[in-house]
């Protein structure tokens, strides 16, 4: 039995991840490789080190602490902070993840992404905000990464949450075996289901996997009677074509059960710092964040098909359903 899972963040006061005020728990590890991923630190299942160049004063303490010689020698801080600087602190292929450099850093420039937590650790923190859930219909959302990548842990986390009387949402990309999903949702109040593209080829191209399993799972979930909120990340040049939305709307309308609402989530590049901290060059970095109002026509299309739709997915938006 998996006692602990790597958690990259527990975000309180989350207001766009299901109804009301929520605490979002981000688990590490994801089978998809979406080109636009805004949580790049949650893709790998292993702990990773952030190096925040803006905070680094190039004191060299990390280099002295590193037993693997996986740290580059200091350069003047102005140099490493310069826009476009190619300087990296960590030589990632030499690093064995001992985290001695992180302990040595006093400036907060090196930190760990992914700390192991038990179910009780997580729920104790989640439960701190109970008064906020009570006044807003909120609760816990398990996100990632992909929670179903830790089937046993996630399932027991939801069970324990339900036992503590906490409202639960699962934020999933739907890419897992149906038995896994079926077990997990036993203790889930709402599934926030990511639907990225309707076309298999396009889906494969930008996420690395086929969408057949995802669509099938959605269909089964819908038949199962689970409350579903569809979340569609709108990415320029990938799925911002009205034709695609028309097809998606038709697919969703054809599902056996009801879809409570559809949230269109505009692409943004505010995660570019995180890519840099991981030493990754992100090709989509220079694509500007989408203006939310540009998504209104698509939202309107879904509404006309009979769905409640929002742009941004606020947990406080009454969609009339």
């Amino acid at each position: 039995m998996q006692q602990q899972a790597l958690v990259t963040d527990i975000q309180k006061f989350a207001v766009n991840d299901g109804p009301g005020f929520r605490t979002s728990v981000f688990l590490k590890g994801c089978p998809l490789k979406c080109a636009w991923c805004h949580n790049p630190e949650t893709i790998s299942r292993a702990p990773e080190i952030y190096w925040k160049r803006r905070l680094c004063v190039q004191c060299g303490a990390c280099m002295e602490a590193c037993p693997q010689e996986a740290i580059n020698a200091p350069v003047p801080p102005e140099e490493s902070r310069e826009p476009g600087s190619a300087y990296q602190k960590i030589i990632r292929d030499r690093c064995d993840g001992c985290m001695k450099c992180v302990d040595a850093c006093l400036y907060g420039a090196l930190c760990v992404a992914g700390r192991p937590m038990s179910i009780d650790d997580i729920l104790d923190e989640v439960e701190q905000d109970r008064p906020f859930y009570d006044n807003s219909g909120g609760g816990m959302t398990v996100s990632g990464g992909e929670p179903t990548a830790h089937p046993d842990f996630t399932g027991r986390l939801f069970l324990a949450a339900r036992q503590r009387g906490i409202h639960t949402c699962l934020d999933t990309n739907g890419f897992c075996g149906w038995p896994i999903l079926e077990t997990i949702i036993e203790n889930v109040d709402i599934v926030l289901f990511d639907l990225k593209h309707i076309d298999p080829a396009a889906h494969r191209l930008l996420t690395g996997v086929d969408n057949a399993l995802i669509l099938k799972n959605l269909s089964r979930l819908s038949r199962n009677g689970t409350e579903i909120w569809i979340r569609i990340p709108i990415v320029p040049g990938f799925n911002d074509d009205m034709e695609i939305h028309l097809r998606m709307a038709q697919f969703l309308a054809g599902l056996p059960g009801k879809i409570s609402r559809i949230d269109l989530l505009p692409f943004h590049n505010w995660c570019q710092d995180k890519y840099d901290w991981l030493g990754i060059c992100w090709p989509m970095q220079s694509i500007e964040a989408l203006e939310p109002s540009l998504l209104e026509p698509a939202a309107e299309l879904y509404r006309e098909t009979g769905f409640a739709a929002t742009v941004g997915g606020s947990g406080f938006e009454h969609t009339g359903t």
């Binding site: 006061f13 207001v15 701190q128 008064p131 006044n135 807003s136 606020s314 406080f316 009454h318």
Partner: protein, 836 residues
């Protein structure tokens, strides 16, 4: 912005861009627009008054002349003082602003600020040395000021008080290290007996008639056969009654001067028939009030303005305790809903003007006070909402109109403070939300059930009276009732609490002012454990609080005789009934509190010492002391350890939150040992106003990693800037561990929220759920700063284009461009909590 751009842009466009100030300018009536722009901006900018704002020398001269004349009079002091006030009122220059419907100003001309030379010589010296505020020609003015100062030297309230204080305490206080202000009865915040004077039952003439009866009876009693101590006590009472009468009669006379002025303009000069009618209405109003109770909204507002003008002629007021919707609301209802003599729009014009008339009031204050207030003249926090004496929802149409008017006139002072309770209607909550969303920074929210219980707990007010509270200054609820109201609160009971922890490290020696101020708790390196360290903290806390409280208690005890206030007495039932001055402590239940500036630094510092020195033993106390002595210079890595690796208040972390509770409970226990002259306790009230900036160069290095010169935390129980890493829910959770009834008087909490996320219905629903949780958690106060960083940065670069940007600076609002760069940076540094 160019006039053309203003003209071409629609209100909706401005609102979409969140340029609320321009939207308001387009939305408000022509009259309100004129009146809003006709007032001078009086709040000091970074401690300095704006160009063109001048000290009013007229009053000083009138007062000095009369004082000289009265010098050889045989009258009692209180009567001489009353005659002086009457003389000022009878002879000061008066004016009526064009388009205005309300009249009455503290000083003589719109651009002048009042100066009372009889309060404190140290203030008079500041006037003399303030070249920017001295009217032209400067040499002539300086000559006048010199003469005035020469006369009052040795005769001011403070000069007369000085010899009766403990000199050592006084020196420590005047060093400026531990306190803020001086113990002056006529220089503080006076709550008032609004239940007596503002409920339509009586006005000045009714009281004068009552005083005449009292004087006749007293006179008869003192001359009838018999001689008991009561007989001779009556001599003092007769003097007090006489003095009250003198000021009230002067109040009626100056109102009639305004009436005459309005009539003269109407009958001789005004060509516009509509304006002529308005002037005649002003004349009629000023003939009616304050002599007789108001009959309509205009008279009610005018009556209030006259009372404030009188009060500010008699004393320097640093606050404006008021409950406008509760006391003026019935007149609004009568005019708008019953008699239909005013349309809603006309009423809104009056309400907006009422706010503007208050916004222009200013009295000269010393530089340290101005620095501590940043951009406003005083903390005029008007209380609205709440319940009536029986616990029913007291909100009315005027509650809503005040908030609507506030969004149109967008003044930084007065601000509004809303008494939240479970019965508040949705339509009222929406108005509060809208004011905050539009970046006003007010109303703040006060938790009525908690504060009513708090008021009963600390001072024993009966529940019916506790329910009738208004803020006496920023945050302290005071019943506006016969025995509930507190006629003064001295600003010097304001402790610079960061010194408590600083003195633990220095054994009470203050290295900034170079004197032993705190207790001699000895060498800090000999403390063997955290308990010993904490004992020293408790000792320093008690020592500082005691110095401040002793001075106030002494001044308060002597005030009825040395520095009486006949006018304030004259509008107080208990003084009229008893013949004793309003300051007489035995007549009131008390509302004493110690304002705790810079409080949270103690908590974060204690947590850092506990963890890094005593528990983890990462550093010795000697190392810490060495680093602090060096102001952390040469110890940067160690300093960062104390900043980053010690728990900080505001993250829902019991390790440090428990220290907060422990400190507050020590203080609460001691506040019950401290007694005010009314026999009641001295609870603490953590807030900062702008004291965090003023004290930046006074507080030395601290174990939380702060260096001398760094801005202090922005106040109350708000976490340090950027240190509340877990977001707004964790801040509220930390704060909810405090018992807001028994741990202190009130606790200021600032929260910055992002306005861009609060748009629309969902923004309101979110805010409402947040407020409901805040209330459930039993926190007594919260205020929002909703301006986004981009706006603030832009305002820093081009202040002239953002004259109207209002932000929260601990305890009140100020215009962003007015506050010092240090404060601005501090605000921007605060973690933004995006709602939405």
């Amino acid at each position: 912005m160019a006039q053309a751009a203003l003209k071409d842009t629609s209100v909706e466009e401005f609102e979409t861009r969140q340029q609320w100030w321009w939207a308001a300018e387009k939305k408000r009536s022509g009259r309100l627009d004129y009146l809003r722009k006709a007032i001078w901006k009086k709040g000091a900018i970074g401690g300095l008054y704006a160009p063109g704002v001048k000290v009013d020398l007229e009053r000083a001269q009138l007062q000095t002349r009369k004082a000289r004349e009265l010098e050889f009079s045989n009258d009692a002091y209180v009567i001489k003082f009353a005659r002086m006030i009457a003389h000022i009122l009878d002879n000061k220059t008066i004016f009526i602003t064009d388009h205005a419907q309300l009249a009455g100003y503290t000083a003589s001309l719109p651009h002048t600020i009042g100066w009372d030379p009889s309060c404190a010589s140290i203030l008079n010296v500041e006037v003399y040395n303030d070249p920017t505020a001295i009217p032209e020609p400067a040499d002539e003015s300086q000559k006048i000021i010199q003469e005035v100062n020469a006369y009052w030297g040795g005769k001011t309230d403070l000069d007369r008080m000085m010899p009766v204080f403990d000199m050592e305490d006084l020196m420590k206080m005047l060093s400026g290290s531990i306190g803020w202000g001086v113990p002056l009865a006529r220089g503080g915040y006076s709550s008032k007996d609004y239940e007596y004077i503002m409920t339509g039952k009586r006005a000045f003439q009714d009281i004068i008639d009552e005083l005449d009866r009292k004087i006749d009876e007293g006179d008869e009693m003192t001359h009838a056969p018999g001689a008991t101590p009561e007989t001779t006590d009556m001599y003092d009472k007769l003097n007090n009654w006489e003095a009250m009468k003198i000021t009230l009669e002067a109040g009626i006379r100056i109102a009639r001067r305004y009436a005459r002025l309005a009539r003269i303009i109407a009958e001789n000069f005004e060509e516009d028939p509509v304006r002529r009618e308005e002037l005649l209405k002003i004349a009629e109003t000023c003939e009616r009030v304050p002599a007789h109770p108001p009959r309509n909204l205009q008279e009610s507002f005018q009556y209030d303005i006259f009372i404030q003008m009188m009060s500010r002629t008699e004393a320097i007021e640093g606050a404006w305790p008021s409950r406008p919707d509760f006391y003026h609301g019935p007149y609004y209802d009568k005019d708008v809903n019953i008699d239909h003599t005013l349309t809603k729009e006309e009423a809104l014009d009056l309400v907006g003007e009422f706010l503007i008339r208050a916004a222009e009031v200013c009295q000269f204050k010393p530089k340290w006070t101005r620095e501590g207030l940043q951009g406003i003249d005083g903390t005029w926090v008007w209380t609205i909402g709440g319940v009536d004496a029986h616990g029913n929802d007291a909100c009315n149409d005027l509650t809503i109109a005040l908030m609507q008017a506030a969004r149109l006139v967008r003044v930084a002072n007065p601000t509004l403070s809303f008494r939240w309770h479970p019965k508040v209607k949705d339509e009222v909550l929406r108005e509060i939300f809208e004011c905050n969303r539009q970046g006003l920074g007010y109303p703040n929210m006060r938790n009525d059930p908690v504060l009513i219980a708090n008021t009963m707990h600390w001072y024993g007010h009966p529940i019916e009276e506790a329910r009738l509270w208004a803020n006496q200054a920023c945050l302290s609820p005071c019943p506006t009732t016969k025995h509930g109201y507190q006629p003064m609160r001295m600003a010097n009971a304001t402790a610079n609490c960061a010194k408590i922890i600083e003195y633990v490290l220095t054994g009470g020696y203050d290295k900034v002012v170079n004197m032993q101020v705190g207790a001699e708790t000895g060498d800090v390196t000999r403390f063997k454990n955290f308990e010993e360290f904490f004992d020293a903290w408790t000792m320093q806390m008690k020592t500082i609080f005691s110095i401040l409280v002793r001075a106030v208690n002494r001044a308060r005890t002597l005030a009825p005789r040395l520095t009486p206030r006949p006018f304030l007495s004259g509008i107080s039932e208990r003084s009229i009934e008893s013949g004793m001055d309003t300051f007489e402590p035995s007549l009131e239940r008390g509302n004493a509190w110690i304002t705790a500036f810079t409080w949270v630094e103690n908590i974060d510092s204690l947590a850092a010492v506990k963890k890094l020195v005593f528990e983890e033993k990462k550093y010795t106390m000697a190392q810490l002391k060495e680093a602090l002595d060096a102001n952390w210079e040469g110890f940067e890595q160690m300093r960062l350890d104390f900043v980053r690796n010690a728990p900080k208040w505001g993250n829902d972390d019991d390790y440090v939150d428990d220290i907060m509770i422990r400190c507050l409970r020590e203080a609460a226990k001691f506040s019950r040992e401290l007694k005010c002259p009314s026999g009641n306790s001295w609870p603490i009230l953590p807030e900062n106003v702008s004291g965090n900036i003023h004290y930046a160069n006074i507080v030395g290095a601290l174990p939380n990693g702060r260096r001398l010169g760094d801005a202090l935390y922005d106040g109350g129980i708000s976490p340090g800037p950027g240190l509340d890493k877990k977001g707004p829910t964790a801040v509220l959770k930390s704060c909810s561990k405090i018992d807001h009834i028994t741990d202190g008087r009130a606790f200021l909490l600032n929260q910055r929220l992002s306005p861009t996320q609060l748009a629309g219905e969902k923004g309101y629903q979110l805010w409402k759920a947040y407020i409901r949780t805040w209330a459930d958690l039993g926190i007594d106060h919260i205020q929002f700063n909703m301006i986004d960083d981009a706006t603030l940065r832009a305002a820093q670069k081009e202040p002239e284009q953002y004259q109207e940007v209002i932000v929260r600076v601990a305890g009140y609002s100020a215009h962003f461009v007015d506050i010092s760069r240090k404060t601005q940076d501090n605000i921007i540094q605060r973690t933004i909590h995006g709602l939405g």
